[in-house]
Amino acid sequence: MKGTIIKLDNVWKIYQMGEVKVEALRGLSLEIKKGEFVAIMGPSGSGKSTAVNMIGCLDVPTKGHIYLDQHDISKLSESDLAQIRGRKIGFIFQQFNLINTLTALENVALPMLFQNTDRETRLKTANRLLELVELGERMNHKPNELSGGQQQRVAIARSLSNDPEVVLADEPTGNLDSKTGEIVINFLGKLNKEGKTIIMVTHDANVARHAQRIEHLKDGRVVKRS
């Protein structure tokens, strides 16, 4: 029986937009076990990104608790969050979010710089990860010299560079055609087989199919599990 790695307990997130309050999450609860591949589905604006950002320590909930490895992270300071984020979480975004001034290799090595890893290890690891996503030949290319699919593979490599326990992918195929999307998802599947916990946001049922189970969100709450 595998342990729980992430647990959201009645989480609320309310954004104050001037006069109006936006309730992005309204009592969201869910649990994810170590080594699972979970898809989060739901219509646009249902709070998927908000949820993933909080799991990834980018933000804290307005109410409720989030546990990562049994630790409550809902009240931590920004510097503690940055620490956990850097070590335990790998992010993959819809817009790839690579740094345009850096080469593929430097992009993949950057998260390690923020963990004060020495230069040699950084380059070695980044090298290995780029080989893993089959971009060994493109290491010294800048993002704008790569196709969308290739950029997303660089992003996958980058998400792995500090060997995180959890990889969060927010609509990783959203900007890709279905064929390149398929390739990217297959890489995520491969990572999962190697033991990484993967949480993937998507609103494409074909993509969600690759996950072991699906959490359906609507209006900031889970409405269905499948």
Binding site: L58, G86, F91, I99, L113
Partner: protein, 407 residues
């Protein structure tokens, strides 16, 4: 780690080359101005000290000055022979010499030039002047009592390229304000632009040739007796001069100064000029600093998304701060280095032009390593200082908001 941050910053600066350069211009101009002007000022001070240096501490100079009255009405009342005679009698005064220094025209070999003619007094007073001004003959001899129709020339006038046609040598004939004189001697170089271009002649000749009233003097040089207190002698001379010229204390139309005081005066004028220049340079540096701040704020705004990305992959606030802080510090120090190089070149160039065009040693550059090191460190500090606020702004961005920021 720091090294990697530096590399990252260099990349970012390179990526915005034009803007980086434009931002640096303010700092470059400011530092160029500071380095070259301090260098020149220091050189000028040294040059002046050198010239006044051997005048000794036992001499006083009396000069007529504007005196007391509404601005613009002041006409300098020249010193007189009577003044000189009275000063000679002041106790503690060993020798007093009256001198005339007048602008005039010199002609030779159908070429003309303008400069100063200075009179030499007779007797002991002549010795005093020769000693006070370090006059020695390079060729020929010095003037002596009774030399009529003779002149000795400052070293520049005897040079090949003095601009007066054929080189003037001992025995040459020159026209001073139309009157013919024979050159009996050419002086050794004194290192002073003024003195090295002066025509020296005996007092009588000068009065005749330049049409100076019999009574007038421009300056009275006093040698104080060995055991006398120079400050007391100065006070006594001032008192005598006041009654001679019928002015009240505090309304003097003359000054009695030691060469040291004169040097002090020159230095204080120099200081005033330098202060003015520093203020201008300071303003330009300040504007440069604000330029850096502006550029960095723009950069933070443009790179909001990038900051969000870096935070999402584990960058701490302090890391983000460092990245931007280093970048602005680097703009400052690169600007400072370029400015220092320009400043040194500028000062050396001016000194070179001064030397070759004017033959003047007054314009010289004295650049200490501390000046260069100081200005580079200073501009680094400046860049960092003005980078603090933008860097804090970058560090404080919320990761989620930064990531949502659309370019």
């Amino acid at each position: 780690m720091l090294k990697d941050y530096f590399i990252f910053s260099v990349k970012n600066l390179r990526n915005r080359k034009l803007r980086s350069w434009l931002t640096m211009i303010g700092i470059i101009i400011g530092i160029t101005a500071v380095v070259s002007l301090i260098g020149m000022g220091q050189g000028l001070k040294t040059a002046i000290s050198l010239q006044f240096g051997d005048l000794g501490t036992d001499k006083l100079a009396v000069q007529a000055s504007g005196g007391f009255g509404p601005p613009g009405t002041a006409v300098v009342k020249p010193l007189t022979k009577d003044n000189l005679e009275k000063v000679k009698k002041v106790s503690g005064v060993k020798i007093a010499a009256g001198r005339l220094i007048k602008p005039g025209k010199i002609e030779h070999d159908d070429h003309a030039g303008f400069g100063y003619a200075a009179s030499m007094p007779d007797g002991d007073a002549r010795k005093l002047i020769e000693e006070a001004q370090n006059l020695e003959a390079e060729s020929g001899r010095l003037l002596k009592d009774g030399d009529k129709g003779k002149v000795m020339l400052g070293s520049n006038l005897g040079e090949q390229d003095a601009g007066l046609g054929k080189q003037i040598v001992v025995g040459s004939k020159v026209l001073i304000e139309g009157g013919e004189f024979e050159v009996v001697g050419i002086l050794k170089k004194l290192g002073s632009f003024i003195l090295d271009n002066v025509v020296f002649m005996n007092e009588e000749d000068l009065r005749e040739t330049l049409d100076v009233p019999q009574e007038d003097y421009d300056i009275i040089v006093i040698q104080v007796q060995q055991n006398a207190d120079i400050a007391e002698v100065q006070q006594r001379v001032e008192k005598v001069m006041r009654s001679e010229r019928d002015v009240k204390e505090g309304e003097e139309d003359f000054t009695v100064q030691t060469p040291q005081a004169l040097l002090g005066q020159v230095n204080s004028i120099l200081f005033g000029v330098q202060l003015f220049v520093y203020i201008i340079a300071g303003i330009s540096i300040l504007v440069g600093g604000i330029g850096i701040m502006n550029t960095m704020f723009t950069s933070v705004l443009e790179r909001t998304k990038e900051i969000g990305i870096m935070k999402s992959i584990g960058a701490r606030n302090s890391s983000v701060f460092s990245l931007f802080f280093i970048e602005s510090g680097m703009i400052g120090s690169i600007g400072g280095i370029i400015g220092a190089v320009f400043g040194v070149l500028f000062a050396l160039g001016l000194a070179f032009i001064g030397k070759s065009l004017l033959g003047s040693d007054l314009i010289r550059a004295e650049i200490s390593p501390w000046l260069v090191i100081g200005s580079v460190l200073g501009s680094f500090a400046l860049g960092s200082l003005f980078g603090i606020l933008p860097a804090i702004k970058a560090a404080k961005l919320s990761p989620v908001d930064a990531l949502r920021y659309a370019k």
